[in-house]
Symmetry: C2
Subunit: 280 residues, 2 copies
């Protein structure tokens, strides 16, 4: 296996892809499959215990490539805003404990009754200004993830890589970066130019993969496809990202109940196979 | 009612908004409500008879503001492409018979197995080159509608107003224009600049309204909201469109089973009310 797994050196498995696995199963499964990195989510990590999770992953020899997620910065109500900032500081602490330098941000949608996208985006900038220095002090970079425009009202008013960079570039590059996730960005004909812009500015904090498949399910949250099952040209993306000099982890993050119903090791073997065939 | 309905002079009802109505009910309902325009769809018009539909709408004193739809230009297979072109010529003939100068185009998604968005967009340009002169000879302008990016794989690889204009601008402005539909474009922070670009180039062929509401239903086709029920700032859009000098019809096109289950006249009264309050 070592020879074959050699080309998996950049692969990271986001734990939501195989959410049927407990954290110990995740660690064991990744070690067995030769996958050297994992992307973690706050809720299962908190449930297991942050310190214990950090030890488990470290003892397995795995890298934590990102923590999902901070964000939800768009509330107008001062109490809600204060709570969001406090929760993001806790997320930064957790990222630091886990030993990852990347906290992924889902920035938040429109508050109830609001139709002002511009103002919501400005409130994100305000929150970043408060949090970025705190994150930097903890060795953590905030990574703004542009989400597909279909999430603009309820999850994230940052819909394109250009918008994410417009926000990130107001702050030092080592404090605020961006996420390139194929699921969210594949349709955009300006994405190659924006990936180059991100790379030139040292803003490329995370590279995530999922495929685009249809029909979309109700609520459009859990309809991501296994690599190769949909419309995304992964090699195209990887080549554009690599062309910027990026040599960081490539994280597979798929939310799909069909994958969650299967044997985890089988799903991970399939991910690794598709990664070798379609991404490298 | 005349005084109140006076401000409805630019309002057009797309027939899919109240699809429970037959064409005669549509004509009668619009006349009663003081709505002077209708947007029509090919299937119900064909079922009724194109000539008969044209006479019905004309005799009611209504304007046909657009016909939906031509397009689906992205097939690779030559037989499929020829069939699509023939069908679009038929759509142009029908538009001319109905007396509308605007044929709305839904350009088509990725062919099965293809992941090449750029090539698909080029095939759209090829089809426009064949069809635009034919349309012009019939007094019809082709109107490229950018669809929300969530339709990029299966319905329309033209996802932004900028992309639509990039395509349209390869042809004379009186032959190929673009559609501004709030449902598809509301999330885009470049849309104000692109509306100005469309106006400056004389490309603004159609202005359509629907609101963005969540959660999206399975398949994401029938989840459009009544004006005011969602996230769209309609006055913002109308003011930007009008600022270009556009004074054409403002067409309400909502696909929503909840509206189809109600009394048509009640729905139209609500549309007119929301239009007065939120758009004007």
């Amino acid at each position: 296996m070592t020879g074959v797994s050699g080309d998996l050196t950049r692969l990271s498995l986001n734990q939501e892809t195989i959410k049927q696995w407990s954290l110990p199963e995740l660690a064991e499964g990744c070690v067995k499959a030769g996958v050297p990195g994992v992307g973690l989510w706050r809720a299962p990590v908190q449930e297991y215990g942050v310190e214990a999770a950090a030890r488990l992953i470290r003892d397995a020899g795995l890298a934590v490539t990102s923590l999902c997620r901070g964000g939800f910065f768009t509330a107008i109500d001062p109490t809600e805003r204060a709570a969001a900032l406090a929760d993001n500081r806790a997320a930064i602490d957790e990222a630091a404990t886990l030993g990852t330098d990347t906290l992924i941000l889902v920035s938040g949608g429109l508050p109830p009754g609001s139709r002002d996208l511009t103002a919501a985006r400005e409130r994100i900038a305000d929150a970043l200004a408060e949090l970025a220095p705190y994150a930097a002090d903890h060795g953590v970079r905030l990574a703004i993830e542009p989400l597909h425009p279909m999430y603009a009202s309820d999850r994230c008013v940052v819909s394109t890589l250009a918008q994410a960079l417009d926000l990130a570039e107001r702050f030092p590059a080592d404090q605020v970066g961006v996420v390139v996730d194929t699921y969210h960005l594949w349709w955009d004909d300006t994405v190659a130019a924006q990936i180059a812009r991100a790379g030139a500015g040292g803003r490329l904090a995370s590279f995530q993969l999922a495929d685009w498949i249809t029909p979309l399910p109700e609520g459009v949250l859990l309809g991501r496809g296994q690599l190769g099952d949909g419309s995304v040209d992964f090699r195209w993306f990887r080549e554009h990202v690599d062309a910027t000099g990026f040599d960081g982890p490539i994280e597979v993050e798929i939310f799909n109940p069909a994958l969650w119903a299967r044997d985890g090791a089988e799903v991970l073997a399939e991910v690794a196979d598709r990664y070798r065939t379609l991404v490298l």
